[in-house]
């Protein structure tokens, strides 16, 4: 039994950030406030923050196929160090997680190797090729929490309609990547002055809205439960708002990088800033931050995508896209907090409460009876990020060498400490 005292409790449900205490028993949160029970181990938190562990939706782990980039072990350690207690893995592996056999394999590997909880999404179509739906029923029975082809867009609307109707009949959640496949094919930047100056092939920001509009039409057609993985542009927001107002079962996420960086950060062809979708202009970034604040965008995720040095040390167009972020998600989110853009409870609503609720997980809340998946952190602790110190096997972070604030002091999964100095 643990009793945290002298602590700032970040409650994303009540949207409060207030001093208090919290008791953990048998892997669950037993009580908030109140006196320490007899025999409980007292943990004086020195006024630091205690929040639900982060639920990071959309993490690429390199198993199967690319274990040299990231294994369940290394991803799990990085997650624990970053205050992430549940990571939702993507199926864009090699081969894709598109059969019950592969799903069983990764489920077993993840449980053996990682100190945090790992849940899996499965592919929506076989091989993520957009031709035939996967065995959604079997995969769901084996615990797939959602179905997605990750950054592959199912271009054939007939195939998509069938997969979505089938998924709806099972109550399965489908995650889409709103992007027009034609406009974005072969591009590595957002169209505008910057991409033209750098001579990079670019897709217009509106390609996202066009993709989202199509997906929302498909949701209306099929009635499926739908989540857009990343909404990163201002002009996609009204479409999302309208869909929610019309009662479609739709939610949306955004990656931490699109909330904290813009296209100018690419600078002189820095490939660690090459992402999918590409970084946007500053106006888009501000609009998306505001959409998280007012709840239009539901989820903040890391879009953790490990890439090794070889695949990044190439000309920008040829380099791999994506960045590691399990460990930098929380300190990067603190930039938004310190800038006054989002409060801590608002951040945890998007990083824990909403993703858990959408995926049907019992975590993400500070409430009696909820699993004691917790992160203790100091939002003000400054440090210089050194990518060689990251736990991920791949070190492709855009924050390398940057000043950050916000350090994870301890991470707990089911009441058991999995990271930090012994308290």
């Amino acid at each position: 039994m643990l009793h945290f005292t002298n602590v700032r409790l970040i409650d994303p449900e009540a949207l409060t950030d207030a001093p208090g205490s919290l008791t953990v028993k048998a892997g669950l949160i037993m009580a908030l406030g109140g006196e320490p029970p007899a025999r409980a181990r007292l943990i004086d938190c020195g006024g630091k923050c205690l929040a639900p562990g982060i639920i990071d939706w959309g993490v690429k782990v390199g198993e199967p196929g690319e274990r040299h980039r990231e294994s369940f072990r290394s991803a799990g350690l990085a997650a624990a160090a970053g205050g992430v207690t549940t990571l939702i893995a993507r199926p864009d592996t090699s081969p894709a997680i598109d059969t019950p056999e592969v799903l069983e394999f990764v489920t077993r590997r993840a449980a053996e190797a990682a100190p945090v909880r790992i849940r899996h999404m499965a592919a929506l179509t076989k091989g993520r090729e957009g031709r035939e739906m996967t065995e959604i029923g079997f995969l769901r029975d084996l615990g797939a929490v959602a179905f997605t082809d990750a950054d592959h867009v199912v271009a054939d609307t007939r195939v998509l309609a069938r997969a979505l109707v089938y998924a709806r009949s099972l109550g399965a959640l489908v995650v889409g990547h709103p992007q027009d496949p034609g406009l974005s094919r072969g591009t590595s930047a957002t169209a505008g002055k910057f991409s033209s100056l750098r001579g990079l092939p670019a897709a217009p920001a509106l390609a996202e809205r066009i993709g989202l509009d199509r997906d929302l039409g498909m949701v209306e057609l099929t009635g499926v439960r739908y989540h857009a993985d990343q909404i990163t542009t201002a002009r996609a927001l009204p479409a999302l708002k309208r869909a929610k107002a019309n009662g479609l079962d739709v939610t949306a996420g955004v990656s931490i990088h699109h909330l904290t960086l813009n296209e100018f950060d690419v600078g002189d062809y820095r490939t660690f800033f090459k992402l999918t979708p590409p970084l946007r202009c500053e106006d888009d970034r501000l609009a998306v931050v505001a959409a998280v604040a007012d709840g239009l965008i539901d989820v903040i995720c890391s879009m953790h995508t490990p890439a090794d040095e070889e695949s990044k040390r190439l000309p920008f167009e040829e380099a791999a896209a994506g960045a590691v972020a399990l460990e930098t998600l929380l300190p990067a989110a603190m930039r938004l907090y310190h800038a006054g853009a989002l409060s801590l409870p608002q951040l945890w609503r998007a990083m824990a409460l909403n993703p858990a609720a959408r995926l049907g997980l019992p975590q993400g809340r500070l409430a009696a009876g909820a699993p004691a998946d917790l992160v203790l952190f100091d939002p003000d602790a400054p440090f210089l990020l050194d990518r060689s110190k990251l736990h991920s096997k791949s070190k492709n972070t855009p924050f390398d060498g940057q000043r950050m604030e916000g350090r994870v002091l301890a991470t707990f999964v089911a009441g058991k400490q999995v990271h930090g100095e012994s308290l």
Partner: protein, 321 residues
Amino acid sequence: MTFRARHLLGIEQLTPEDIRTVLDLADRYVELSRRTIKHSDALAGMTQINMFFEASTRTQSSFELAGKRLGADVMNMSMAQSSVKKGETLIDTALTLNAMHPDLLVVRHPASGAVNLLAEKVNCAVLNAGDGRHEHPTQALLDALTIRRAKGRIQRLTVAICGDIAHSRVARSNLILLGKMENHIRLIGPPTLMPPGISEFGCEVCDDMAEGLEGADVVMMLRLQRERMDGGFIPSEREYYHRYGLDAEKLANASPDAIVMHPGPMNRGVEIDGELADDINRSVIQDQVEMGVAVRMACMDLLAQNLRADRGRKATGGVYV
């Protein structure tokens, strides 16, 4: 003299003074190149490697000749048939070459930014001979020299750049250079061949040729980049020639003493009328080729001077001598 750059990666990094320094020196190299004995020792003993990842005849031979006239040992590497085909990465190729101690590395590559990446990994002067759709700085400088010699100045001119702007590094570099030198720039071409965000570059954009050429002092034609066309930018070559090909009739809209330029190689009958291209009263296309060698001599001379000074400083422990 103000030219302090270590590499020539783009016009973007140059100041107007840098540009003038290059052009002034290039003027002297034009004179040298017109003599029977066209030799200087500016690069004597130095090694120049031309590394072309994209096929090129004109630019590569221009750089080769420039290096030889300055006394450098010049080696050409045609990367299209080399270890790159065997899967070697750009960085590894650069490191391999670096171990051979070149002093000047001239690079052309199909990807934007590839030359910048390479410049970070080698300890010699790198000259960008064209990277993707990004920059082609020596082309813009030779165009500037041609204009300055024909018009007597490189300021306050109205310059029309016509054709496939979107895929053109020549347009990109010229746009930056002519902007830095305070000229009025018009871009003419079908909207499908205009890069996004172009209106923010401080130039006029026209999709009508006659309107765009109105009163222009310089008409710069671009090659229709057939090999870059992944389809569907224009309906057909004949419609393109009809609307955007330069002929005497369209040129009549420009200033009566306007000069016609083209970076070559030309597609006669696609973007420019064959007779007009050969009209010695209007076309300066052959001059551009001549200026090309002189400008490249000037750039390599200046970079070599900086390289020597840099190495001298290192040899004396960072003390300026």
